[in-house]
Subunit: 455 residues, 4 copies
């Protein structure tokens, strides 16, 4: 396609290294949509006649059909998806195919194709996030009165509702969803018309092209247009952070489904066994959720490192943008529905969670008791700490210390100190907005349902 | 502060490892602003009286003054900025200081402080980006008629205006600026009131706190609130991508200021010499612009890796979020004004750029000539390629081939083919929106000025 | 120092960006050692007289003393440690100081200094690793007969000795130690004499310099010598992988010290409390061990990204090599002794581990029982799996199924199947080299002690 | 294979996520070699008879033949390469196949397979490095007398020989090669016999297995053995650093083949054209060499991030180790031969390099001239700097200043100062070991040839 000035054909190993068709064939739909719009734009400026335009559009539609039906035959010379489509179009419609590339470079073409691809990927990811959010909300609602230990530093900290814990992931996902939305805004900027670097001389109507292809606006500078891969970086960052959230849910569920915690039981449909140990039931799905964040972070690192220090405008290095992008898209596609399935089907073991509560977790409530009697919190904290130490020394629960014990620690302790040791009351006392009180959690779920109805 | 239940003091090496005051003292302003607002909120729910509130506010203001004046005296027991401020407050105002922490945990406190810090950092970064954008627009306007070679693959590709090349960076920075703006939206969500993990029992008015501290809204889930570091990750990503843009400008300017290109000359104020080679004048500023992207990428990697697979809610690992954040903030603070200075002061060598133009760069225009005569672009491209090869074989410029030579290649070539070899005309023919035509570039600069007036 | 050809002084903001003295002062010891050796080498080729050499050496020793005593006074013009030392030397000994830089560039000087610094850092790290290994071996020996559940996928898998689990970290650290040793070999290659890029004209004896400074050999190519930062990359990778190992130990100990596991109890000297929750005792040290791996990975990413695509020989970007290096060195310095302290002082809760054993963990032994009766393992695995399912359905231990139950599953089960359910026997049956059998573990510990005596 | 205790089959989406056969089929050769050795080991401890062993070995050989011939038929239930091979073996040889897994877990099996794979990959990489080193040495020798500007900060610094520049890459590659060698030592440690985590009960002779499979030694701890992925991390680091070296060569050659430098011309076999611009000849191969370092760095980041904070022993997350490994292996396989081809075939443009020399590059020689007359270097540097400034002000070469000009700057300048301006002499004066003097470079090449004969 570009051989005019060359006197020698290229080395085989180099041809293999150079070719991108092995992975960028995935852009075929975007590429052909872009070319159909471009054929229309060429007709509008008179580069092709209306008949020629229709011939090109028909031909392109036939090429797409071949790809759709997995019947497209690759030639060794198909360097990338763009040359492959152009070559096949030529075979189908003859020399008029040679007009399609007028004023267009692979530089603006591939930038356009990739943006179309990312826009689709964002939409799909958003749907998959919504599905996971729905699973979370449903599960939270079904078990809205289950108490569990809330942990900080993996140590039992304070009581929370199971629903409150689970809902915490809803909001992480909500931020992801919004972040992808912002990325979509910046992705929907049309580069087509930038040519190789300088724009083109045939004056294609770029606003028309943007409308045809569903872009929000057109790029403002042709040099930037052909080398801007920020939209991929942003997608990969959003994917990595989403991956991080899934990895944290993964860690929690791996722990909670261990024998030691036992808070949840994975459904058999989402667990595996061992080839050696007959008793094993492993939470592989959530381990993979934990692990796959790593590759998403790696994909992001690849792209940022690739772009760093690159000379202006298009460099071939940019061809390396696609594989991390595709890898991230595939990873999310495969992972999100499985995580949703795990959440939807896991068994919640209310009793196990109840068994894990102990009255030391009410030490803050004990301090709050003193605060209500006018003691400054710092002093109250110290006194409650003394009680904890005493109970631990004696090997008893905090609630098993006597009223006398308490009064020895601080005279502010009355007989009603025993009332502190009521797990349900502890949770109920945290009805602050965003807190774990039952009403606050109900309000939280209601708000989430409202949000989750809108994409 | 938390020693009630402990029977032994902590190991020295561990105390050093554990302490964060060495770096998180930088949060003092945010921490004290947060505490002042919190004192007000405590008064509103009656935990402190109005007098106590005023005492706390006065004391906090005095602590801040000590920090501002660099007169704050650290104690060995100051584990972090929060305990340091609380300790000092106690010294200044007595036991009432012990009430300030009621219902508040360092978990929601540090999350609030860090968000305030990031909000300030975003604003500063946006101002610094604007200053660099202004330098770019000015320089572009001053040299709006200078021609230069546009490169792809570091090979001369097509003619562009110097202003067009320079303005390409304006738009990258514009995306950065918008991205930081989106990050600010998601940062301005108040965690205070989340307590350690479960909310608090004293029902502080979180909407009031949000208004006092300039947050847009309040967090919806207390578990998420104390462990959410997405806003730092997003800041670091935005910083890394901004760094990548500066690194690309760095690479270009390092090359353009080399003897071989000579397109620009660094001002002496932004260059250094060699301790060994007396003739050297080095573009260190732009090399650092290129290099510093690496640490920004490293900072981002640190944070994402830190968060990946972390159990729910607050874990001590999160203390490691601050140093990459501070490093990124400091890096941008130091770098952006210098890059702006370089752009503002660099000498643009119009003649050197003119000397670098050659007529082979008009080969696309030559093909376009044939297209205008009805030849399909692919065929036109091949014919223009033949001309390039012929000129190269003869060792002459493309413009030095005779009309006869051209006609031998393709009969469509007329005598007027010579008109193609006009550099100014080549640029002028690309007046497409976003292209390098003089009017298009003028429009681009005008649009940029419009945008740059708004922060 | 390099201002001869410049007509303007440098911009303040740029001077701050450009200067590295703020961090590279840490190289002072290496820098001065290097200069002392260089003074000797200059004397050997007659550039300085023996008297001048002695003057230089005395002066340098005095400069070092000022640094050691933290009395070195910085000037605003001290661009980096090299110019600072040279400036101060000039003040102390006069113009002869101006001879010290003959034939030397900051390029070969800083490369030499940094290698000396890394060699010291490697040695220190190796000692700290040894100390941690000793703590591990001692603890393992002290508790050599304690049984615990071995986990895969965080599910109870098979019984192991606590000592076996703990010793698994010994071998990770041993690989780290060897890897650092390999890095030292490649670090101990002297760049001095490479000048700025091309070597020098005064023919300093590089082999002599190598011997003086304790390098193994000299670099073979001056261009490579001044820009080679592989030794830093290798150090950072080794540090990151060491960090990963510590993070895995961190994760285990955070889990094992949770209420749910309870296998170990952190000593109060290595735990912290909560500012809010009086009962909390948090394993901060091990959370930081887990978290700090992230910054080590970030440091490595920074350096590799920095080097990627850099033009040949010295570029200013390389100044960015030092902060990630220093950060990694400081991180390991702070962390390793604390981890050793944690291991040395943690309480091992034998009973808690014993309580966590259940007979389902002997399902593999059950299958092995059938294998010993001639059944192919796959079939045996399936039969043992059936037994597990039956026990689970009935809600009983595997050992509580009757002999009749077992025979219904497979006639190969005899009355002696009950003998399988002996925890001690299970461990004892795995005396294969590297296995968890008591003798195998004793041999493992003995081998470790042998190794750990040698640095 | 592990279904005994499960009552439900697994979800389809989860099955797809969980399965690794799609990529780990590449381990088939290693897996079958491992199983053949294991069959022998089972026979030695009497688990299978000699006849059964031969049956297993025959069957495994047939399975391998099917893979080799790309005729292996996959079943939907083939979860990974290990189950696929075992399933097919069962079809071919019947129930005896069920004995092969006795005492073996997929945990120790996959660890063994992957090590075998990495050992092969290291060997192949080392051969490919050697081939590139040979191309470098040959090219350097062919052009051993060509002068070129040596650059620091991309500014002309001092003269060097082209061969010296090119040879600088030889030594980077030599370190890579040695680093891979060290990695091979640590990879060649046999995990087989570790079982799932605890060792096995049948006492397979692990030393025998190590010998059979070409391992140097056996692992010392079964828990470590099944979860150690250090050898992959080390391979990926070595690959990333090698990639960085190739990226630096890429950057140099992209620049040197630009019109502005013109030092080398890519052979047509290793260059590409533009689909739009007929005159373009792009150095794609070296741009890809520059870009592909990014993905190697990304692969390394993935693995380190994956391992960080993982609980002890085998977790499913580890399945994610393979794709970054395979990606790195494929990247190096594809890239190294192309880079060797580029170096071998590129045209060296002696005249262009000569044209790029200017006498300002001899300013250090000018200072050295004064040093030889007894002036301290710092003063000499300043004087030479003055000369540079004067020449620049007048717009002349440094050599065009008169003797009188020089004497005005410093009386030490004699009439013979003109002799300094001899390019050949400048290079010849740097015969220090590792310097750019012709003899030093010849010695360097001779040493390299000696080294390169040994693998």
């Amino acid at each position: 396609m570009w051989g005019g000035r060359f006197s020698k054909s290229i080395d085989d190993a180099f041809a293999r290294l150079n070719a991108s068709f092995g992975f960028d064939w995935r852009l075929y739909d975007a590429d052909i949509r872009g070319s159909i719009a471009y054929a229309k734009a060429l007709a509008r400026v008179g580069i092709v006649s209306e008949t020629e335009r229709d011939t090109l559009m028909d031909g392109l539609t036939r090429v797409k059909a071949e790809f759709d039906a997995r019947k497209f035959e690759t030639k060794a010379t198909d360097e990338d998806i763009h040359t492959a489509v152009e070559r096949r179009l030529g075979e189908l419609v003859g020399t008029v195919a040679g007009k399609l590339h007028t004023g267009r470079s692979r530089n603006d073409q591939v930038a356009t194709d990739t943006r179309l691809f990312v826009l689709t990927a964002i939409r799909n990811t958003q749907y998959a996030i919504r599905a996971l959010q729905s699973a979370i909300v449903q599960k939270a609602e079904q078990h809205s009165d289950v108490l569990m230990p809330g942990y900080t530093h993996m140590q039992r900290a304070q009581l929370v509702l199971f629903a409150h814990w689970l809902m915490s992931f809803f909001w992480m996902l909500q931020r992801d969803l919004e972040r992808f939305g912002d990325a979509a805004e910046r992705t929907a900027v049309l580069p087509l018309g930038a040519g190789a670097i300088a724009g083109n001389t045939i004056g294609t109507d770029r606003e028309f092209l943007a409308r045809e292809l569903g872009f929000r606006t057109i790029s403002a500078n042709s040099i930037d247009a052909v080398s801007d891969r920020d939209f991929i970086a942003e997608f990969l960052f959003d994917a990595a952070l989403l991956g991080v959230h899934l990895s944290r849910l993964g860690e929690d569920l791996v722990l909670y489904s261990s024998a030691e915690f036992g808070f949840v039981t994975m459904d058999d449909a989402y667990a595996t066994g061992s080839s050696l140990m007959p008793q094993k039931k492993n939470p592989d799905a959530m381990e993979l959720a934990r692990g796959k964040a790593a590759r998403l972070i790696g994909d992001l690192t690849t792209l940022l490192t690739l772009l760093k220090g690159l000379p202006s405008s298009y460099d071939k290095d940019l061809q390396e943008d696609k594989e991390p992008l595709f890898d991230a898209v595939d990873t999310l596609d495969a992972l999100l529905p499985v995580v949703a399935g795990v959440v939807r089907t896991m068994r919640v073991n209310r009793d196990k969670m109840r068994d894990a509560l102990d009255t030391a977790m009410l030490a803050t409530d004990l301090a709050d008791y003193l605060v209500r009697r006018g003691m400054p919190f710092r002093e109250a904290h110290r006194n409650a700490g003394e009680a904890v130490k005493l109970a631990e020394t004696r090997g008893v629960e905090l609630s098993e210390l006597s009223a006398a014990d308490y009064q020895k620690i601080a005279p502010e302790f009355g007989a009603d100190v025993k009332d502190v040791f009521d797990f349900g009351q502890s949770v109920a006392s945290r009805e602050i907005a965003g807190g774990t009180g039952p009403n606050a959690v109900r309000a939280q779920i209601a708000a989430a349902k409202q949000i989750a109805n809108v994409l």
